[in-house]
């Protein structure tokens, strides 16, 4: 039986709120599945989602969250993976282009902006999950992403204007860090059981290497082809995973 739009949205909001609040993924899936099962029977008996949650679905979601423990281990590995997602592409691309000099300002600024970005994004997701209306989410996330993109651009401009201490890595150290980064990506993927990041890194860099060194294409062509391939791979992975979660 297919659930009503209201019930489906309630379950989605519950899942997002719990996961962003750092609750264990398996425990989250279990309670969402249990409530889905309950809602299917309730709707078949002519009841609405309010009969289950009471007058405030938001308060109900918070009451569930309150009883579930914060999974610090899972939160740590997830944050590590997201952090790596942002930094690995930049670092490995720089490495391929032969750039191994980094200013303290650039590295520190990037880490700080990423931390602010992730924290505010998590808060935005949490707040959104508790809103009780149909909402134009895309605009808010677009503004949020754009503000942080501007901060990164601002950081690059400031970095060009201000002379801060620099670290220059020798090529061998640069490649060693690159290898460690890839190993770390694989470890976090294994820990979180989410393979999207290593797949994206593979699809972004392996064709690029082949196009550059085997087919002798220009750097810009290699990057563009890899970018398109990565976007398609990520889109296909997300569609497949959302289809799988619907059939579970």
């Amino acid at each position: 039986m297919i659930l009503s739009t209201e019930s489906t949205r309630f379950l989605e909001d519950l899942k997002v709120y719990l996961l962003v609040s750092g609750k264990n993924e398996q425990a989250t899936n279990e309670i969402v599945h249990e409530l889905e099962d309950h809602l299917i029977e309730a709707e078949a008996d002519g009841k609405s989602v309010r009969a289950i949650t009471g007058d405030s679905p938001a308060a109900y979601i918070q009451s569930i969250s309150h009883e579930m423990a914060f999974d610090s281990k899972q939160a740590f590995w997830t944050i590590m993976q997201v952090y790596l997602g942002a930094s690995s592409f930049l670092y490995l691309q720089n490495l391929l282009n032969g750039t191994t000099t980094y200013s303290i300002l650039l590295v520190g600024g990037f880490l700080l902006i990423s931390a602010v970005y992730l924290t505010t994004l998590a808060l935005l997701f949490r707040k959104d999950a508790l809103r009780d209306t149909a909402r134009p989410r895309l605009l808010r996330y677009g503004i949020h992403g754009s503000v942080h993109l501007l901060l990164i651009v601002g950081l690059l401009i400031v970095n060009g204007l201000i002379d801060s201490p620099k670290i220059t890595l020798s090529p061998s150290v640069g490649w060693l860090i690159g290898a460690l980064l890839i190993a770390w990506i694989l470890i976090t993927a294994w820990k979180t059981k989410t393979w999207i990041l290593p797949i994206a890194v593979f699809v972004f860099f392996v064709p690029q290497l082949l196009l550059l060194f085997v087919f002798n294409l220009s750097e810009i062509t290699a990057v563009l082809v890899s970018y398109v391939l990565t976007s398609i791979t990520i889109a296909v992975t997300f569609i497949r995973s959302s289809k799988n979660s619907q059939t579970d």
Binding site: E30, I31, H33, E34, L35, D37, H38, E41, A42, K47, R50, A51, I52, T53, G54, Y60, S63, I64, H66, E67, M68, A69
Partner: protein, 108 residues
């Protein structure tokens, strides 16, 4: 004070008593509660309590295929849950006796 507020403190004990009767899943539990006259509380109220009782080790859940098809979580009472239920019954007995006697005095 609404009956919902009065109920909050004793709902744990009522759920434990129902789980002690037989292995039971969420919707069935909510329906039983309603059948016993707890019509005011929203059905979902039981889930945060079930999570807490599992954490306390009073009940345990096993997931298995239901007769209607999908996998379901069935709850059963543990030894410590049974001890808690006995303690709850004693507390409830004392409390209801005290309340009864006060209300009786008021009626006289």
């Amino acid at each position: 004070m609404s009956s919902t507020q009065m109920l909050k403190g004793i709902l744990d004990g009522c759920l434990l008593a129902l789980v002690a009767e037989e292995e039971i899943y969420g919707y069935e539990l909510a329906t039983k509660l309603k059948a016993y006259g707890f019509a005011d509380i929203s059905e979902g109220t039981i889930y945060p309590l079930l999570i807490r009782m599992q954490k306390l080790g009073w009940i345990e859940a096993t997931s298995r295929v239901s007769p209607s098809g999908p996998k379901r979580k069935y709850y059963s009472i543990t030894t410590s849950g049974a001890e808690e239920l006995t303690a709850f019954k004693e507390r409830w007995h004392d409390l209801s006796k005290s309340v009864e006697s006060i209300l009786k005095e008021d009626d006289d």
